[in-house]
Point group: C2
Chain length 350, copies 2
């Protein structure tokens, strides 16, 4: 089969690789119909984080089940399914409490499982990992485009909102206008936030934030952005969604947050390890820092219910669609911020 | 009057200084009968943090009201009172929600207000800051020694427990066997924790932790301490009280905490700003970091009620008592860990 391969910073190729097969009785093999390029893929693409050269990439698979092991009970060949960016068993202590990212049997995409950006993936722990799309919606392209966001960014934005303690009536600030930040706006609106202030650097993305439910947008950098966010929230909100992960945005989130409030953070930290986190800002103001890698599997059912009901639609974040050969171009477009998020159809529009 | 003065690292002197007087109608002047040396005083004493040479020191005053301004309503001359380590108005948004440390009219001890370690202090915002000891307990020395801990360390240990989410039935680990850690043990027991594992470096202090309610104590350093704490809690507790503030202890607390759990931290961060905080440990395990500078004024009434009822007694942390001339010796004893916490009676035993 063909799959996208990381060949070093700035270089993604599409190559012939062995097709993954069932190895365990709890595996499923999924033919990937839809997947995406993630903002976090850009860290290795830019050389900001390490990744093994020659490894398969992608971690947001949606597709049709091709084969299942003898012990798989929740899905069968022909089912439309999607999977979060991490594999989880669904049965351990952590999965049972909704922290699937800490699954004791957890696994990741790439390697022999195949990355999401390829024609097929093997899904270990298929019962715990795969989410089945009800048959009546299984072939509706618009629905599938919305559900695809639940493999990562929509669940991640939701985790930021939940971690920040957003609830009905809340005033919140969303730091970051990437796909996760935009999904954070959707999530905050869905949770009943009264005021949602979106902060970003791109006019077009902030326009989308407004469409998604942001009651105000702030297009500014650095101190100006912080001051405007604090001013419009009368001294800072009690809930800040940090949806970037860079040191500057983490510290902006801490600065913006009202004393006693909570920063919900979900962006993979980068650059923060170099002494950049404003711990005194947290300490002095009793600002709580909650969140982390988002257990999107835990949120899949409730978010899917809203997508299927037509009340949640994150699909506008996919501003570009490519086939497998277009994956390298997809990385480039995201890296240069031409696309918010790129949808990939490994088998084309068949 | 006489007061303790900071003269540079390792040097505390007792000098004649102007006696503070009423300056505002909301001030009170308090004759300090009891106060203490704080673990956080050791940071400047050791030269680890900056402090103006010549400044008055101490921030845990208890005493008898000498004079009040015309607008003071809650205390009168002759009342026994104590005050937290920060001044707060009691009326602003933050005081009303129990975050007195973020009081918009807040002030600190030292400077013209006088430090706690002197014969008199001026208390700005006396109504908001001072806690009145009921008359029937106002001259009972044992009670006063217990209540003195409520000016800082007992409220701080309680804040660690509350921030860590300790409640009835909880299993928790307390990192640090200083006065705050020991008070954290008391607080966790008071909140109904079922298992309290105290972690420290000093056998005698851990013995006191056991007296205070620790169900287990671990006398170990570094990785060994972390491993033993995780093992005895079957993989880490959901609640960790970080009661030191150093990078090593912060990161130990993060390491020990079970995925999805909460670290309640209250130690003034030191050494952590140099890139030391294990943000990836927090992120990967969705460990929340809550707490900060403790709003001990918010907790004074409920803790005092228990002290007066005889069910809470932090006074054993005061292992040494000195008069004002003994303050330099008190710093030395705490610096060399001969004393857990030194009680100071500026006017002696009169």
């Amino acid at each position: 089969m063909r799959a996208a391969i990381y060949r070093g910073p700035g270089e993604i190729t599409v190559e012939e690789v062995p097709r993954p097969e069932l190895e365990s009785s709890t595996d499923a093999v999924v033919r990937v119909t839809h997947t995406a390029v993630c903002g976090s893929d850009l860290w290795f693409y830019r050389g900001d984080s390490d990744r093994e050269v020659g490894s398969r990439v992608g971690h947001e698979p949606m597709g049709v089940v091709e084969a299942v092991g003898a012990d798989v009970r929740s899905v069968a060949p022909g089912d439309r399914v999607f999977a979060p960016f991490l594999v989880s068993c669904g049965a351990c202590e952590f999965c049972r409490k909704g922290l699937h990212t800490s699954c004791v049997n957890g696994d990741s995409w790439g390697g022999d499982n195949g990355g999401g950006q390829g024609e097929y993936v093997r899904t270990p722990h298929a019962d715990g990992t795969l989410v089945r799309v009800p048959d009546r919606h299984a072939d509706d392209e618009d629905t599938l485009r919305s559900l695809l966001a639940l493999t990562d960014v929509m669940g991640t934005g939701h985790h930021a909102a939940v971690s920040a303690g957003v609830e009905a009536g809340s005033t919140c600030v969303v730091v970051g206008d990437g796909a996760v930040g935009l999904c954070g706006v959707l999530a905050a609106r869905r949770l009943g936030a009264e005021r949602i202030v979106a902060l970003g650097h791109h006019e077009d993305r902030l326009d989308l934030a407004a469409e998604f439910g942001a009651t105000e947008t702030i297009h500014a950098h650095g101190e100006e952005a912080i001051e405007r966010a604090r001013e419009t929230t009368h001294g800072g909100p009690n809930h800040v969604l940090e949806c970037v992960g860079a040191a500057a945005s983490m510290n902006a989130a801490i600065d913006i947050c009202r004393d006693g409030g909570t920063v919900g953070y979900v962006g993979v930290p980068h650059g923060v390890e170099d002494g950049g986190l404003d711990l005194f800002g947290l300490f002095g103001g009793n600002v709580a820092l909650r969140g982390g890698v988002a257990p999107v599997r835990a949120y899949a059912e409730e978010l899917m219910a809203d997508v299927l009901a037509g009340t949640l639609d994150p699909s506008p974040i996919f501003t570009q669609t490519v086939d497998l050969d277009g994956v390298p171009e997809g990385y480039r477009a995201m890296d240069e911020r031409e696309a918010i998020k790129v949808l990939v159809k490994p088998h084309g529009n068949e």
